[in-house]
Symmetry: C2
Subunit: 344 residues, 2 copies
């Protein structure tokens, strides 16, 4: 914000105001001149006009005759995102900052706004990447300051992810009896993380641009639930086909350049249905995990905004960590149901 | 870009130019007036001055006397990031677009620039989330168009992640003999993904802001290698301590509210060293996986820029998928070395 702006009493004539502007321009001072502000008898902001409008005005007029009285302004505590949004929505080159009593405190000019938007974006991208914002250019920040900014979130995510080890502990007996299930574990939980990452990125940006507000969470939920299901079914079908195909390639001993293709998922002798059931387990688990991931990813930015956190902190790694634990519980639960009585 | 701008021959006097500006302002047309452009005898752009400078000029002067001849301008094919960067770096409110022959084609004003920056950022955040940019507001895009934008990348990542199943197939014998290794699989590969996500976010933003150029890749590599190692050692120590601690809690049958704490990682009777070796395996694997993830994450945006892709497409999910396959190979390789002759 600059406190060097041009304000004139509303009763000033256009000639006097223009003379004032020219004198200021000649003085070599740094006043922002995109807009001229008119003040009432008590010194409160009463109108605004652009330099262009001042130049165009008929010589006899008063400022109060030509100034706009509907003023887009900011309070002294406005945050950076609001500044960016107002500038963008109203195509403004300068926004006045007005105190609670209505007095003009300063002006935010558009070149500041661009810097603000760029900084805000840098912060958001770094938070989205699962770290604290650096607040300094990468090449300038000291090595240990950078490590601190990165290690905090990395350790928090690591500790959160430890619950996967705990959860897997409960399913260790299941893995013992059907090691084949472990093969698809990374595939399934990462799909939940990826779909969650899409949901969170969409909502972080929609919230920042005020395309959606916090009260729209249910309208988003109503869109994301079928979206998650659809994406889950797509991945589920691909996963199922992949397993059936590999089994088929193995069963027919297909080789390419002497290398055997496919893989045998019928690992328990005498149970020829095993591969089909594994394929079904993976397919169904994917529907559940992707739907769940999509919902968590899209709802988390709303929750964060609601409890006063920056929605951008609902980073892709954060969502992935949340979804991983649930994802493996979904996977093994589906496995226990589908494979029950056959290999489990 | 607007083609409605104010240009005057360089030989015009200040009075005539100001009269021209006032006449244009009165005409009610929409010319951008932040800057006045001076043209030479051939109509080429020869100088620029702000409206403020025109107002401040001594009445007798010519435009050529006061205009700046060092002009920051854009070619007709400049991309959006360049527009944003120039505006931000030079605090400009308008940038002239100049043809190859040096003629002024139009002017990009700052309100357009802000819209451009906002759109660019929305695209970047959506790409970073592992999807195509929507190009429409979330609430307006049709359901099936949105699904297409999301399903493409989600399927690509899923197919990439399938290599984890193939890679795990090679280590299935190892898992059979030491199921305990499967427990830490998600923890270890997700740590690689998370550290990669940090690296890629940092570099995507540094490249966009031109804090680093493509030629600086090795300067970044020289910073990221020790950063990755440091972060890897931090996580490795936490992981090792976690396993030793859980084993200790189990060995001493510590209960809280009747619930047994800890876990037994000595799963092969008679081998009391097993838990220590598992802890060592996890610790060492984390150092390797985090270092590798950090390097891949930070180098990928450079590679993408080099081959003409948008660095923002090196999304967190993309990096995670790349790192997952390598991560599990690193993990099981370390396991085979450390546990060799004991349980493997």
């Amino acid at each position: 914000m600059t406190t060097e702006f041009v304000s004139v009493p509303a009763a000033t004539t256009v000639e006097d105001a223009l003379e004032r502007v020219r004198a200021l321009a000649r003085s070599g001072r740094r006043e922002a001149m995109y807009a001229i502000y008119a003040t009432d008898a008590d010194g409160r902001l009463a109108g605004v006009l652009s330099l262009r409008e001042l130049l165009a005005a008929a010589p006899g007029a008063k400022i109060s005759d030509i100034a706009w009285t509907e003023i887009v302004s900011l309070g002294p505590n406005a945050d950076r995102e609001e500044v960016a949004r107002l500038t963008s929505n109203y195509d403004l080159v300068a926004i006045p900052v007005v105190s609670e009593s209505g007095h003009l405190m300063g002006v935010i000019t558009v070149d500041d706004v661009i810097d603000v938007i760029q900084e805000e974006q840098t912060e958001d991208v770094q938070k989205l990447g699962g770290m604290e914002a650096l607040d300094e250019p990468y090449m300038q920040i000291s090595f240990w300051r950078m490590i601190r900014k990165r290690a905090g979130w990395l350790c928090a995510l690591f500790i959160g992810e430890m619950f996967t080890a705990t959860a897997l502990g409960y399913f260790q007996g299941t893995i013992d009896r059907a090691t084949v299930l472990a093969l698809f574990l990374p595939l399934i939980i990462s799909s939940g993380g990826n779909s969650g990452s899409q949901g969170t990125s969409l909502m972080i940006r929609s919230l920042a641009l005020q395309e959606v507000g916090i009260r729209d969470w249910w309208r988003v939920a109503v869109r994301e639930l079928p979206a998650g299901l659809t994406l889950g079914v797509i991945l589920g079908v691909i996963g199922l086909v992949r397993i059936e195909l590999w089994q088929l390639l193995h069963d027919h001993s297909i080789h390419i350049f002497g290398v055997p293709l496919g893989m045998n998922y019928n690992q328990h002798p005498g149970i020829s249905i095993e591969a089909h059931l594994v394929a079904l387990t993976v397919g169904l688990a994917l529907v559940g995990v992707v739907t769940f991931g999509t919902m968590v990813g899209s709802m988390l930015p709303f929750l964060f905004r609601r409890i006063g956190f920056d929605p951008a902190s609902a980073s892709a790694p954060f969502v992935a960590t949340l979804v991983d634990v649930t994802g493996l519980v979904i996977y093994f639960t589906v496995a226990l149901v589908v494979l029950h009585g056959v290999v489990l």
